[in-house]
Amino acid sequence: MSLIDNLKKQVLKSQVWKSIFRHDYKDTQRNRFLQILDNVFLHLHPTRIPRHAVHYGYTWGMGGITFFLFLVLTVTGVVLMFYYRPTAEYAYADMLYLKHDVPFGMFIRNMHRWAAHAMVITTWLHMLRVFMTGSYKPPREFNWVVGVLLLVLTLILSVTGYLLPWDQLAIWAVTVGTNMARATPLVGSEGPFATMLGFRPDNDVRFMLLGGTIVGPPALLRFYVLHCIFLPIVASVFMAVHFWRIRKDGNISSPMESEWKAVQTAGIARQKFAAARAKGTAGAEEKPAPAPTADGS
């Protein structure tokens, strides 16, 4: 054996190597499963999936694309945070600095902006696909609700991020949006029943959103903290719940799932009873339910 072969053998058999790489990479069924189970990121997936789960025509891939865009936004957002200060004095100036002076500054800013728009679109399309495939039906109804919450969080992230450039577009768009909040029933100072509860322009929901009565420096700071810290953390928690529920509720849905799952479950129960009877251990209470008769009894 040559020196290189010997060295290779020693490295591959060493404890250091085996502690990092837990299995080999020959294409066996066992290794295909371990590649998923032994990976902190990939073990989000089950080891096997129905054939239609890899068809773009069934899933559209929009959920995965949305999550990928969230990761892109996180990375580009962190890079932008190196150059941006959320104060009225510096915000717009820092945007000009990014545009003209920072290498690839405009590219990173563009990527963040367009990924944000794309994420809103893909979230809606994902919702459309889930509806069209009936994947909101039991047992997935709770996950649908979590998905709607994630949609709302995506939209709030969009709104809070829109103010940060502190340009004319930002200030007036948020002015219009928060003026709508002013008209909310009960908690808005210009909405119905506001005077009954004592809400004024300086203590209503709009005041709480803006940290003042106009879109000013407190609003910028507040939106920055919401956009960069609070909302991403909350969205991450809800995404974790969303992905967990996907696994617990039976992974990707299938056409006519409730029908064939009932047949499958009944089939498994009958097999178990037959096996127990053959062993002589089946009692009267273990009999599977009789098949329904033609008249439904």
């Binding site: 096997r48 999936i49 025509g57 367009w114 794309a118 809606w124 006519m256 029908e259 064939w260 799952k261």
Partner: protein
Amino acid sequence: MENILKILGKPDNIPIVIAMALVVFYIIWGYKQARANDRRLRANGGKLPPPDKLSVWPFLVRTEFIGAIVVMLILTIWSIVLDAPLE
């Protein structure tokens, strides 16, 4: 017409135009899939067999990897060609 095209061509409005087109496209595609499913159901007497299974590695992981590359490519080209507005 010129005015409408000018408004639709603004960088911040382009995602809205894309979204409108995509929603129409996916609704049409979704209904085509639904009709194909109904045909399968009729052919199988109103029932569908349980689907057969594939390993996630490499099949789904490969699909996801290609999807991520395509999305990154589209985002990169979009970010180079169109500048975000700063008014």
